[in-house]
């Protein structure tokens, strides 16, 4: 057990500068997919809350399909499914993108969290108090100003508790990257487990590290809620 820790403490945490592994990759995957998912989710949430059916329907179909299938299947679809098509092989740009496991996992994670985040944000947008919107209209605000200054700041704040849940779930979902050969924390744990045949120690270390990140995130979001949701806290 001591040997395992001596041999593997660095890969567990950050690996080497040239080949980062473990915790660093897990955090990077989490942050990057959440960032892309967030950028995707804000306009999609506005579209989903729209009263025009032809605007909201495509977004509804997107979230329905993503939320109705396992992330593992989505990852397999992007990683081995898309790459098996002939036109992907013959298009250089697509070929180089989908050949890289890291790109595929990042795309799958971003699309996945984007769908869940869209649902959370559009729920918050729809729950905007009617009076706030009427007051903004009475001020003569344009549609863009209305969204920029009134609806989005208020809705994103109210979505914070549900969004913090999604962030934790995304952290947990990054473990799937290990199945696509990305050297994240779980992948290092798997290597360590098979090298020393100590599954409890190897996976236990990973579990403790994940637990620490989860607690850190929960603490961070509690701070954020105190800052941005102070008017709603009891």
């Amino acid at each position: 057990m001591i040997e395992l820790i001596q041999q593997y403490w660095q890969p567990y945490l950050w690996g080497t500068l040239a080949h980062p592994t473990g915790l660093v990759i897990t955090l990077w995957l989490t942050v990057a997919s959440l960032a892309v998912g967030f950028i995707l989710a804000v306009p999609l949430a506005v579209a989903k809350a729209s009263t025009y059916r032809w605007v909201s329907l495509p977004v509804s179909i997107y979230t329905y399909v993503i939320r109705g299938t396992p992330l593992y299947v989505q990852l397999l679809f992007l990683y081995s499914g898309i790459y098996s098509l002939d036109f992907v092989h013959s298009t250089p740009a697509l070929n180089s993108f989908f050949r890289d496991a890291f790109n595929c996992t990042l795309l799958a994670f971003a699309l996945n969290t984007g769908a869940y985040t869209t649902e959370i944000f559009s729920g918050a947008i729809k729950a905007t108090p009617r009076g706030e919107i009427e007051a903004a209209r009475a001020f003569g605000m344009s549609r863009l100003t209305l969204y920029r200054c009134i609806i989005l700041p208020s809705a994103l704040r109210r979505a914070l508790p549900a969004y913090s849940n999604e962030v934790i779930l995304m952290l947990h979902a990054t473990t799937l990257a290990a199945t696509a050969t990305v050297p994240d924390l779980l992948k290092v744990a798997r290597n360590a487990a098979s090298d020393y045949y100590l599954p409890f120690v190897a996976y236990g270390i990973a579990a403790v590290l994940y637990l620490c990140i989860s607690f850190a995130l929960i603490w961070l979001f509690r701070k954020a809620e105190h800052r941005w949701l102070a008017h709603l806290l009891r």
């Binding site: 098996s84 947990h172 799937l176 290990a178 236990g204």
Partner: protein, 234 residues
């Protein structure tokens, strides 16, 4: 469409997925009721371990827990059989999957049920006791039916998560629908690589059908448990 001769395998995999999720749901449901009872108990020796259970399990990714529990249990079993000079016993992946999924999602169900129980007005339980009902009768006739109404959205959510988490069990070697598709991809790779795209898409559609059907089921259940309760009209 004969799915290149792999239709039967996919069908069996789908049945295996459904069985696995239903049995895991049963285990998680029972664990959740027991956990909620322990967590709400005034006895610290019961509530503290239950709090640890929900906090630790919900803070660690399900895939990490799955690998940790499955491989550690097998490791310990091997050591035990070695010590007793018995032949090695391999843990059945199906049984392991049911136990592990049930154990993990039992923690989520504990929180769902705890919220449901706390939402039932205390006066009703006191009234039941005043009528001379036993604790079991209070649970069976007053607490459970009302708790279910509050807990149903959470249960529905947890069920969808369990159903999608069964895809992960293929990683510990169970022959459910994702594994069946992977076998089909390996078997048909000579006939053209695009089969990977096709079979993974089929699995996605199967999951989509399963989640859609369970959505309808839960809508019906929600109606049943909302009997005698009218939604406030906005």
């Amino acid at each position: 469409m004969s799915f290149e001769g792999y239709g039967g395998q996919l069908w069996n995999g789908t049945i295996e997925t459904i069985q696995l999720s239903l049995l895991s749901l049963l285990v998680a449901f029972v664990m959740g009721l027991a956990g909620a009872a322990a967590k709400l108990s005034p006895n610290r020796w019961l509530s503290f371990p239950a709090s640890c259970y929900t906090t630790l399990i919900r803070g660690v990714p399900d895939l990490v827990l799955m690998l940790l529990l499955y491989y550690s249990a097998q490791d310990w079993l091997n050591k035990l059989t070695d010590a007793l000079n018995q032949p090695q016993i391999d843990i059945d992946p199906f049984l392991a999957g049911v136990c592990v999924l049930g154990f993990i999602y039992g923690a989520y169900f504990t929180e769902t049920f705890r919220g449901g129980v706390m939402a039932v007005p205390k006066g009703q339980i006191e009234a039941g006791a005043a009528f001379g009902l036993t604790r079991w009768q209070v649970f069976r006739r007053i607490l459970f039916p009302q708790m279910m109404r509050f807990a149903l959205p959470g249960i529905s959510n947890n069920w969808q998560v369990i159903l999608k988490a069964t895809a992960l069990v293929s990683i510990i070697g169970l022959h459910e629908v994702v594994r069946a598709a992977q076998d089909a991809i390996t078997g048909t790779s000579a006939k053209g690589a695009y089969h990977a795209f096709f079979f993974i898409a089929v699995v996605g559609v199967i999951y989509l059908i399963l989640t859609t059907l369970s959505n309808f089921l839960f809508m019906a259940l929600e109606q049943r448990y909302s009997a005698g309760f009218r939604r406030p009209e906005l």
